[in-house]
């Protein structure tokens, strides 16, 4: 019976029923029985939407920007799906998902399907859930999908990496230039948006971002302190050129005869509250998408995503098997107590629990 309910739900989703889409996403995020069958079924109907991920620190104006972007696409006759990810409490699992408030431009417009999600304490599972929810929106027929998340940690970075294009929102004056050097979300941006561009310090932030991007373009340029041979040209090119990505060393007899098309991250200024700069942002997003398709990176990304999804699912399934094994052996509490009492140690416990699994896999002939 369960199977029939799931198929019916998928059919209604494909038919464009909003309630069915909403319910499918609920099943995905609560991992309720049968959700895997649903995702399997809709998989074949995906691949039409372009997916943009938007991240940045709290208060940078992500939701307002997303609202205006959605409005822009709607005005062009396209349909939009938005997934907004907010953190949940590590103590109670509770969450206040507040991004919906800012969707004022799309009031009552069902063709902007806005859905709030929280992490629900799933280790690494959030990116799987988000990716599956994106599939649901894609299969439903949304032209544009936007994933919005606070750029706070690895979880959020993983989520936003499931998008084709990653937009990082930066607030003017959000720290000194050391912040720009730090590893993290600034490394993953394809497009940087300096929002609230009317604020003091905006132009400095733009300049700092641009400097960071040019340093990042060709990491080797900074390592080559001594000039030797043809590399000297490279250095000169990388320093003087803007927008060329510093990767065109065609004079070198390298493996690649054709210079690959290169994407240099762009910096766009916006004032999301008034909508200023949104058209430039839309253009830049379109440029990036064109680059992705023409360079073949779109396909490559899809492959990488699929690989990551498979890995993630395998990890979570193995985790479950191991949790069950732990329960079977009396639960983790006893092991933990034994470790604290110095009767054993974490490595020894792990070895005992995982040994049967290892043996089982290693003993296979094929």
């Amino acid at each position: 019976m369960g199977q029939a309910v799931e198929s019916d739900l998928v059919e209604r989703l494909l038919d464009g029923e909003h309630r069915a889409l909403a319910r499918v996403i609920t099943k995905i995020e609560s991992q309720s029985p049968g959700y895997r069958d649903i995702v399997s079924e809709i998989h074949a109907h995906t691949g039409h939407a372009s997916v943009v991920g938007i991240t940045g620190s709290p208060g940078a104006g992500k939701s307002t920007l997303v609202d205006k972007l959605a409005k822009y696409y709607r005005d062009q006759g396209e349909t939009v799906g938005v997934i907004a990810v907010d953190p949940s409490s590590p103590y109670t699992g509770g969450a206040v998902l507040g991004d919906r408030i800012r969707m004022a431009s799309n009031v009552g417009d069902m063709d902007v399907f806005f859905r709030s999600m929280s992490a629900r304490g799933q280790l690494g599972g959030l990116s799987t859930a988000t990716a599956d929810a994106v599939k649901a929106l894609d299969a439903f027929g949304k032209d544009r999908i936007i994933i919005e998340t606070v750029g706070a940690g690895q979880n959020e970075v993983d989520v936003v990496k499931t998008a084709d294009t990653v937009v990082v929102l930066v607030q003017p004056g959000s720290g000194d230039d050391v912040q720009m050097l730090k590893a993290g979300i600034l490394e993953i941006g394809d497009v940087f948006v300096v929002n609230k561009a009317d604020m003091e310090g905006a132009s400095r932030t733009v300049a700092e971002l641009q400097e960071m991007i040019h340093l990042r373009d060709d990491p080797r340029a900074n390592l080559d302190v001594g000039h030797h041979g043809a590399d000297a040209f490279d250095d000169a090119g990388a320093h003087g050129g803007h927008g060329h990505g510093g990767n065109d060393h065609s004079h070198e007899v390298d493996e690649e005869p054709e210079p690959e098309p290169v994407w240099t991250p762009q910096v766009v200024e916006t004032i999301a509250t008034t909508g200023e700069g949104i058209d430039t942002l839309v253009e830049t997003l379109a440029d990036h998408y064109t680059y992705l398709s023409e360079s073949g990176e779109l396909e490559e990304k899809a492959r990488q995503r699929a690989a990551e999804e498979i890995r993630q699912l395998l990890r979570s399934d193995v985790n479950r098997l191991l949790e069950r094994e732990l329960d079977h052996r009396g639960g983790i509490d006893d092991f933990a107590t034994a470790v604290v009492d110095k009767e054993t140690d974490p490595y020894a416990v792990t070895e005992t629990v995982i040994e049967p699994l290892r043996e089982c896999l290693e003993d296979r002939d094929d």
Partner: protein, 139 residues
């Protein structure tokens, strides 16, 4: 447990409908629900019934809590209920109303399909318990 071990999390929309400009109560209940482990979506002030319907349908919430102080409940709440019906969302959404609702208006709201009304001074735990006991199963 099967491979799909469900993580039951109650989702609520706390909605302010209409023109009243006070949402301290809505904030307090949002926070109490959050601390009870619920996922709470807060609508913000001055929402039209259409917005509440859109949010309830899209977010697939188990519970819709309408907070209303302005006295316009007799016109606004039925609009929301009719919209939920239209999208097939009325049957599996628990609808609760909080705020200033005169005793004589209550039967009509309950007739419209509101599941419970919590007036001023209701202990928070009572509301939380009601939600926990009555949140509909998602099928």
């Amino acid at each position: 447990m099967s491979a799909d071990s469900e993580q039951r999390t109650i989702r609520c929309l706390i909605a302010k409908v209409g023109l009243d400009g006070h949402d301290r109560g809505a904030h307090v209940i949002s926070r109490a629900f959050r601390d009870a482990g619920f996922e709470v979506i807060y609508s913000g002030l001055h929402r039209a019934p259409d917005e509440i319907i859109q949010a309830t349908v899209q977010e697939d919430v188990d519970v819709l809590g309408i907070s209303i102080l302005s006295g316009a409940h007799n016109t606004l709440v039925p609009k929301v209920m009719a919209g939920l019906e239209e999208y097939g969302a009325l049957d599996d959404t628990l609808v609760i109303v909080g705020g200033i609702i005169p005793e004589e208006d209550r039967p009509e709201l309950l007739d419209e399909g509101v599941d419970a009304i919590f007036g001023p001074g209701t202990p928070m735990q009572e509301t939380i318990d009601f939600v926990k006991e009555n949140a509909p199963e998602r099928k």
